[in-house]
């Protein structure tokens, strides 16, 4: 594909509460075996983008571990490949990334040294499948300066955390509001953009010279009348996970057969780092109903309507319902967990009781673990 990729993986969100104290949003585990950033990386790989830069900043250790080798997404290449950019002090600059546009600006040499004519910019906290070639075709066809992938927000809650857009009959964007208090439009931006590489360099440089650092506010919104910005509407599954409720419901969506088939069984695949865990093991007494279970897990108790991530141990006589249990959790015998997200590497003592009464409860409990 004649484009390079830029993934915005800055990654903090107060709406994620305790969940982001361990990792950035793009490293959030999704659907048992994946992390959020796998979806955009796989989309880029499957669209044959050869060169991808990931811009990270907040709490990036877990994310960097995940990206330590680029081969899982087939980016282990001599030409191109996967580049991770964290903020660095240089002779000209000693700031953190002050915004998405600043993140691009501080790594402008990556854009300048590339030769592909287009750039796909996408955030790393969205769950979807998309062939960027189709968007690029549309972009060229419309002679657009910028194309914004967008979606009707019929099935999306709290629309006020997104950018909302209004388009004319030719899909040219006429209004763009970032996180409006009262949304005037029902179409939201999916945080995926295609721009000509030279135009992006120009706009980012201009913004930086005016001390403007946000890609949406200072580039998209500011330039929308002088540049031709078009919307590309998708109707397929797309979710942003950057709030506790959305994170929970997106994971639970994978219990639906049509969503599972769409992501797990239909071409193309989503890739992730391979963990070399043994198959999941069900001992006598295990009862698992309507749940997803990842590898390395050992189950002795009852699990219902839940997503169990990798390498988890569930003790005898446990009851886990409508919950998400993240990686490497040990749950002692006779424990009751309902409407919860159990944080990774937790060790939950035997006979514990956790229930989200009014909403989703995040369980962070790091007791000592006695190895068996």
């Amino acid at each position: 594909m004649r484009a390079i990729g830029i993934i915005l993986a800055g990654g903090n969100s107060h709406r994620m509460k305790e969940l982001v104290s361990k990792r950035a949003v793009p490293a959030m585990p999704i659907a048992g075996s994946y992390r959020s950033i796998d979806f955009v990386l796989s989309n880029m790989s499957n669209s044959h983008i050869q060169k991808v830069g990931v811009l990270t900043q907040y709490n990036a250790q877990s994310l960097n571990e995940h990206l330590s080798s680029s081969k899982w997404w087939d980016f282990g290449r001599k030409q191109g490949g996967l580049f991770v950019f964290t903020p660095a002090v240089t002779a000209e600059n000693n700031f953190w990334y002050r915004g998405t546009a600043d993140a691009i600006y501080q790594n402008l040499s990556f854009l300048k040294s590339s030769h592909e004519p287009y750039v796909v910019v996408a955030s790393a906290d969205c769950i979807y499948k998309l062939d960027f070639n189709k968007v690029l075709e549309y972009h060229i066809d419309k002679k657009a300066d910028i194309t914004v992938v967008c979606k009707d927000a019929d099935d999306i809650k709290d629309i006020d955390r997104f950018g909302t857009i209004k388009m004319d009959e030719n899909y040219r964007i006429t209004e763009f509001e970032e996180k409006p208090i009262v949304a005037k439009a029902s179409t939201i931006s999916c945080g995926i953009y295609i721009i000509r590489r030279r135009a992006l360099i120009e706009m980012v440089e201009k913004s930086a010279s005016e001390d403007r650092y946000d890609f949406v506010r200072d580039i998209l919104i500011r330039f929308k009348d002088i540049k031709k910005i078009y919307g590309y509407k998708i109707k397929t599954y797309w979710r942003n996970i950057a709030s506790v409720d959305d994170y929970f419901s997106t994971n639970m969506d994978f219990l639906k057969p049509e969503i599972r088939n769409y992501f797990f069984r239909e071409y193309p695949d989503i890739y992730s780092k391979v963990d070399d865990l043994p198959p999941a093991k069900y001992n006598v007494g295990a009862q698992v109903r309507n749940s997803l279970v990842a590898s390395g897990t050992i189950i002795n108790g009852t699990v219902e309507d839940s997503v169990i991530f990798r390498d988890t141990y569930i003790g005898n006589n446990c009851y886990i319902k409508n919950s998400i249990v993240l990686n490497d959790v040990y749950i002692g015998d006779n424990t009751h967990i309902e409407n919860c997200i159990v944080e990774s590497h937790d060790t939950i003592r035997a006979n514990s009781y956790h229930k989200g009464e009014t909403g989703i409860k995040i369980v962070v409990e790091e007791s000592d673990r006695y190895l068996l």
């Binding site: 749940s291 997803l292 279970v293």
Partner: protein, 422 residues
């Protein structure tokens, strides 16, 4: 200059004919094991876990699956600039082109490969055992005894000793005599087919015995070294080691993985077994599913009931199906209402709805009773079993079978149904 202290040569060319249709289209080391693994994963993982990063894999019989699985060695971290994994098939030479005619002959034909790495020691492995072993400890033993050849041995019950090559040692572990499959064994130390050679000793022995037909380690090279007076030592191994050369032992070894604390524990952190995972998603268990005392691989979907079984990756088990005491390999599709007792179902097979596998009384298999026994139903790779048929015990089904292949909708115990050309 390239230099490796020890390199490994893994013999993976054997057919393993006693695994019946499981090896119809793939070499024995490529056969699935324990849900997501293949047999060769065990020696390959042992190599990398023991710090050996140069492995030559000798292939000959049906190598496609094996080659695809090994690739450039990424799953085992054996993708290296120098060394790593190299697949070594037989090749044509200016004179004397031949297949690999014996274990040692295969190694002899790859002297150049070994020479490249300038090794001090060469480890010879076979690709058909399930075990975890630290070859570095064996090498330390080899060095500390100033051995030229060290043979890994395993104590076996004396009544079974006549199936193995038996080593007789002095109190220091030095091999004084050995017997190949003796009638009246004088020791219970069985050779595991794992050898460490000093490179010079190995090279000299292979070259001097090169004209021997079907040159074999047990039959020719070890006796040759012994007769020459080389110090031969036995390294006693006491961990789990299982030969999975027969359908019965293959089934048994798989079933041992589902015990509460299995003797062979895949869940240990410090000696991981690596494999190529083609399927990543988690497994889904539906509201009416039951899975008890079983292991299940990635991406499988269970709508029926599974007891005491080993289920691979990407398997679909339909509603109301009951799978008991069975091995179901990657990508198998089991239809609704299927009853499946003590069956081995190879990769990609499709079992039609309502079929019953493994019913009735046992009867000896009509074509190969020494292979298909123990009451097992064996279904070959990519085989289709039509809906609603009833299949007896000690049976084997291979190929795209149709309802008319089953008189009265039945396949009696002891029958063989193989459709060639599919």
């Amino acid at each position: 200059m390239i230099k490796k202290e020890m390199i490994a040569m893994l013999l993976a060319g054997g057919q393993g004919s006693r695994l019946g249709v499981l090896t119809a289209k793939m070499a024995k080391p490529a056969v699935s094991f324990g849900g997501k693994y293949r047999i060769i994963d065990f020696p390959l993982s042992n190599c990398i876990n023991s710090g050996i990063d140069t492995v030559g894999v000798l292939t000959q019989y049906q190598p496609l699956k094996l080659n695809t699985h090994i690739g450039i060695g990424i799953p085992w971290d054996l993708d290296r600039n120098i060394g790593g994994v190299t697949v070594l098939p037989p090749y044509e030479k200016s004179e004397n082109s031949e297949w690999y005619t014996g274990t040692a002959n295969a190694i002899y034909q790859n002297l150049d490969y070994m020479e490249t790495y300038n090794p001090d020691y060469v480890l010879i492995l076979s690709g058909d055992h399930i075990y975890k072993m630290d070859y570095e400890v064996m090498l330390d033993y080899h060095k500390s005894h100033n051995a030229e050849v060290t043979i890994a041995v395993m104590p076996v019950p004396i009544e079974e000793a006549k199936r193995f090559g038996i080593m007789i040692t002095d109190e220091d572990g030095r091999i004084t005599e050995f017997e190949e499959k003796p009638e009246n064994p004088r020791s219970n130390l069985a050779s595991m087919g794992i050898y460490i050679f000093n490179w010079k000793t190995l090279k000299e022995a292979l070259i001097s015995k090169s004209s021997q037909v079907a040159l074999d380690f047990g039959k020719h090279i070890i006796p040759y070294c012994h007769d020459k007076g080389c110090p031969l030592y036995a390294y006693e191994f006491s961990g789990y080691w299982k030969d999975v050369g027969t359908l019965e032992s293959y089934w048994q070894a798989n079933m041992e993985l589902i015990d509460i604390v299995p003797e062979f524990n895949l869940y240990e952190e410090y000696w991981k077994i690596y494999t190529k995972s083609e399927i990543l998603p988690p497994q889904y268990l539906s509201s009416d599913s039951v899975v008890e005392k079983s292991i299940v691989g990635e991406g499988s979907e269970v709508y029926g009931k599974v007891y005491n079984s080993v289920i691979g990756c990407g398997v679909v088990i339909g509603k109301d199906a009951v799978v008991r005491d069975s091995i179901v390999m990657n990508g198998v599709n089991i239809g609704e209402g299927v009853q499946c007792n003590k069956a081995i179902i190879a990769e990609g097979a499709v079992i039609g709805a309502g079929a019953v596998l493994g019913e009735g009384e046992e009867a000896p298999n009509e074509t190969a009773p020494h292979i298909y026994n123990s009451g097992l139903v064996t279904v070959g790779e990519k085989t289709t079993v039509p809906a609603g048929v009833r299949v007896g015990k000690n049976t084997v089904i291979y190929g795209n079978t149709l309802p008319e292949d089953y008189p009265d909708g039945k396949l009696a115990s002891g029958s063989t149904l193989e459709k060639a050309g599919d």
